[in-house]
Amino acid sequence: MKWETVIGLEVHCQLTTKSKIFSGAATAYGAAPNTQACAIDLGMPGVLPVLNIEAVHMAIKLGLSIDATISPHSVFARKNYFYPDLPKGYQISQFELPIVSQGHLDIDLEDGTRKRVGITRAHLEEDAGKSMHEDFNGMSGIDLNRAGTPLIEIVSEPDMRSAKEAIVYLKSLHALVRYLGICDGNMQEGSFRCDANVSVRPLGESKLGTRCELKNLNSFRFIERAINFEIARQIELIEGGGTVIQQTRLYDADKNETRPLRSKEEANDYRYFPDPDLLPVAIEQALIDKVRLELPELPQQKCERLQKQYELSAYDASVLVSSRELADYFEATVKQAQVSAKLAANWINGELAAALNRHNLEITASPITPAQLADLLRRIADNTISGKIAKSVFEILWESKESVDSIIEKQGLRQVTDSSAIEKMIDDILAANPQHVAEYRSGKDKLFGFFVGQVMKASGGKVNPQQLNDVLKKKLAGQ
């Protein structure tokens, strides 16, 4: 039987506010345990939560960028469950009247098609603390620094049909929230977290199958693996005569499998009700209009502009807009170098990306600035060095603080363009290989490459390739 996969995603983004969603405690990552947890975060008696205006602005930003409805009237609710990292015994979240609803995100799939993924809702809520289960003599350690950190939970429609599509959606959303500046997107630190609802059904069936919710997915690679494992598990189960039970499953990256989570709060009976400590939030059209003016250029708009303005391929542009900083780097380089944008894109997406990757660096931490890369590209464009030599200069530039021109001079890498010098080198090579010359002249054209190689070797790769080809051709023809 042919099966169809159905995936819906819930993404939790930590918002980049300075203070918590309902208190004035700091949200900075990595502080000593419990030094950023105040009386409100601890759920002390008699405290009153007050909503952070910036969290509301950020939710509106997200809503506008996904063409969603921003609710003029939105309500916070208590989601009740007991766990030690949730001091109040409830999480303040939104249930019936979320701040954002009915939006969508268009994603560009590998085959070049664009797909619209529905976003059911996005609501504001507070994060819980962290539990540590090791090294405390049979006790658990609780750090409440994270408790009360603002989150926006973005819930998609079950619109994805493969793990690949799910990843494209997540990467698009990841880029979007970073462009908006509302989330730093750091998955290792848990700033961008994803739960996946996965089910399968016979192809052509319109009714949804029973779903399982996958948790503990903290990298794009693991999300894809976990979903694919889960799809295979469900199909095998059904084909073997079994039925899928609706449950929450944890992904174990070491074993590459999902397994049922202990039943934390058996029936997921959260008994939501409006939080009496918080009044309804009113959002006026004037505020929405004001926030709209602050929206930056979004990834898809930027991608289309780069293609048009710089005549880049869709692929090059899509790689460059994967982060706002990378696109900025590209534009700064092109502006300063005044060389072809294609050359700049090739170097940024090729050599520079590879080097950053090797050193595990973000573009913002690149030791080579756009101005330096621009210098290098200019020297390629004006034939001072060849593309091949430029790679050596790039490597030296990565490690040192020297300028491109001084590296070229000091290392003697300047391309040889003096035609008499090139002629001399060619004459030497031809004289040293009379046998090959004779063979070439009797019709063995393929030997041309051999001569090019020999001259390049003798010159340390510094001969201008175009000039070499021209002169060599003439010499071999006996001219």
Binding site: A37, L51, P84, S131, H133, G141
Partner: protein, 95 residues
């Protein structure tokens, strides 16, 4: 609408309330009375009325995004039963 003893026990468990077996029938009947009252209110046509999430007819004041709370860990932890390395210690929660 009447609650059963099983439902009352479940609600009590979810709220982490211990109730005596002997008291259960009393809770069943009292909680059912409340629900019956709600059912009575349900009959009123409220189609044209905005749901009320709060009894006060005002909206939420918002605060500026500023860090105003200093670190008072020592003060807060002075009333905690058990702490170590800055962490609150609680009975093991993982199975």
């Amino acid at each position: 609408m009447s609650l059963t003893a099983v439902e009352v026990k479940k609600i009590a468990h979810l709220a982490r309330l211990a109730i005596n077996e002997a008291d259960t029938p009393k809770y069943v009947s009292e909680l059912s009375t409340i629900l019956d009252f709600v059912a009575q209110m349900d009959k009123v046509d409220t189609g044209s009325i905005l749901p009320m999430a709060h009894p006060l007819d005002v909206t939420q004041r918002l605060r500026a995004d500023e860090v105003t709370e200093p670190n008072q860990r020592e003060l807060f932890q002075s009333i905690a039963p058990s702490v170590e390395s800055g962490l609150y210690l609680v009975p093991q929660v993982i199975e």
